[in-house]
């Protein structure tokens, strides 16, 4: 009898129920979020790509692979958009759900389990990643920053880059009891990665001893693959390595979340 009741509990639809909560929640803020998703690539590609790019291009672009700075920069920023969206969606919103609004606890009193709460939130993050990276690609294409139709394949890569950050950060955020930890992530995690993982310049420009650090970051792999796709020079082997590394991070984060969510919500 008990087993029959248990079997009637489908796990996928449970996560969807939590995802629907986030959609309802998002209905209040979607307009503003679209504006900022549009504005951010315009600002960065405008200032860095067109403004700074003119100076760079005047120096010769051999080290950029012979393309203009704008074309070099755009795919890097695309991957970074994945990272930034992930960090934004997986820090304060998670913390708020468990500490301030307690919507996680509210869901936990219903049939949903901690894993469903986790998956449901991830589904929403996945949607936000797809939106933001998609908008970025559209803006970059309009600005002439894209060389190849392979940029279409860069969308899932950028989303995957975001997931490589989203799952571990979400798993960690739910364990926090104070929101001060997040400033550390931004300052000492996200910003250095943004600057030194091959988004703005090839990491071959960095001292040799420093480069392995960049190779360890998911962002470098995401940026490298997005760039290869955007320029139309991707190879299957390279793509598999990058994708594999990103999947590893995302999977590790999911595994971590399966431990941290129950621990926080079932006390």
């Amino acid at each position: 009898m008990a087993a029959a009741t248990r079997a009637a509990v489908p796990s996928r639809s449970f996560a969807v129920r939590q995802f629907r909560f986030w959609l309802t929640d998002y209905r209040r803020t979607w307009r503003g979020s679209i504006y900022s998703s549009l504005l951010s690539p315009l600002l960065f590609l405008g200032a860095m790509g067109l403004g700074l790019g003119k100076l760079v291009d005047a120096h010769g672009t051999a080290s950029l692979g012979g393309v203009s700075y704008l074309v070099f920069l755009a795919p890097g920023l695309l991957a970074a958009t994945g990272m930034q969206t992930a960090v934004g969606e997986c820090t304060y919103p998670v913390f708020a759900s468990v500490k301030w609004t307690k919507t996680y606890q509210a869901a936990s009193a219903s049939p949903l389990r901690p894993a469903d709460v986790f998956h449901g939130h991830l589904l929403f993050v996945l949607m936000r990643l797809t939106m933001n990276c998609g908008i970025f690609i559209a803006v970059a294409s309009v600005l002439g920053a894209v060389r190849s139709v392979w940029i279409v394949a860069a969308l899932p890569v950028a989303v995957l880059t975001g997931l490589a950050f989203a799952t571990p950060i979400e798993a960690w955020s739910v364990t926090r009891t104070k929101d001060t930890s997040f400033a550390v992530i931004y300052r000492f995690g996200m910003i250095p990665m943004f600057l030194f993982s091959g988004v703005f310049f090839p990491i071959t420009q960095l001292p040799a001893w420093f480069r392995p650090l960049a190779y360890l970051t998911p962002l470098w792999h995401g940026a490298a693959l997005c760039r290869a796709l955007s320029l139309g020079v991707a190879t299957l082997g390279g793509a598999l390595v990058h994708v594999g590394y990103l999947v590893l991070w995302a999977a590790a984060g999911v595994a971590a979340g399966h431990m941290t969510y129950p621990r926080r919500l079932y006390v």
């Binding site: 509210a106 219903s110 919500l265 079932y266």
Partner: protein
């Protein structure tokens, strides 16, 4: 419907619930009465299947809370100690979201929401945001939300803590009606008047253990006298008066920091006896015994300390 044997909850080296037994049958209003930290909320969370027991047995609706959490929770309604409403959504949206957690179709939720909002007297606020509602209204909304899945058992963790007297009575009134409709209620409280008003049966909890069990009337009959004479004295004379009062025939005397209580059959007779000893309290009050007196007798402490 719920059965616990030797139920234990530990947090590290701290034992919040220390081997309690209780049984609950359908249609009953069952209470856990005790001061803060007595283990009431921990017990409630174990029943709500969001806190795995550290020891003992617990069965809810015949199911195991650890293995069958989702199936049990589908049949429970939960009013947590702190409201977990989404403040930025409207009253109705809150019910919609919650109903969707239970997998109910929108149509059903809409129909039930109308009925439930009427029941908790929030129909005219249904399209408003939750944020500006008063504490009592939020509480009533939480109660409406907990009923969206038509639960067999409703768990209420301190349903009226933090509400003003009027709002508390409004909540009690609604809970009383639910009880009349046959909903099984389980509630925790540190208000003895709440326990007396709502519970058919209750357990007195103290430091993780059950100190006594019975209906409010039974408990008062068993552990207290029909009447209590409460007296206040000038602080300077408090001790002296306490010593003199040993001469008054009373079943029991409690010397609290600010008052002296005499447990007697007839309060007026006792007050006359006090005056005969030429002890004059600043104020005196003869009242019936309450659960607070039961608690004091059982634990030597007061409920709301």
């Amino acid at each position: 419907m719920i059965r616990a044997r030797g139920l234990v909850k530990r947090f590290g080296s701290f034992t919040a619930v220390d081997g309690i037994d209780f049984d609950l049958s359908r249609g009953e209003a069952f209470g856990f009465l005790g001061p803060n930290g007595a283990g009431k909320s921990s017990t409630m969370r174990m029943i709500g299947c969001v806190s795995p027991p550290s020891g003992g047995e617990l069965s809810i609706l015949g199911l195991d809370p650890v293995a069958d959490g989702p199936a049990i929770r589908a049949r429970l309604g939960v009013v947590p100690q702190e409201d977990t409403l989404d403040l930025e959504l409207t009253v109705r949206e809150n019910l919609m979201i919650y109903g969707r957690y239970f997998g109910l179709p929108r149509e059903v939720i809409r129909e039930r929401s109308t009925r439930l909002l009427e029941f908790v007297q929030l129909s005219d606020r249904s399209a408003d945001q939750v944020e500006p509602l008063s504490g009592g209204m939020k509480r009533r909304l939480t109660i409406a939300r907990s009923l969206i899945n038509e639960p067999e058992i409703l768990l209420l963790d301190e349903p009226t803590t933090g509400l003003d007297p009027q709002a508390r009575h409004a909540v009690w009134d609604r809970l009383f009606r639910l009880k009349q409709q046959g909903v099984t209620l389980v509630l925790t409280t540190h208000y003895m008047d709440e326990a007396e008003q709502l519970c058919d049966r209750l357990v007195v909890m103290d430091r993780g253990k059950i100190a006594a069990e019975g209906s409010p009337r039974e408990l008062i009959g068993r552990y207290s006298t029909p009447e209590v004479l409460e007296m206040r004295f000038d602080p300077a004379e408090h001790q002296v008066a306490a010593e003199k009062l040993t001469g008054v025939p009373a079943e029991r005397t409690e010397v609290l920091a600010d008052r002296i209580l005499l447990y007697v059959t007839d309060g007026d007779v006792a007050l006359a006896a006090v005056r005969a000893l030429e002890v004059e309290p600043l104020t005196s009050l003869v009242r019936r015994s309450t659960l607070e007196d039961v608690f004091l007798r059982l634990t030597g402490r007061r409920l709301e300390d």
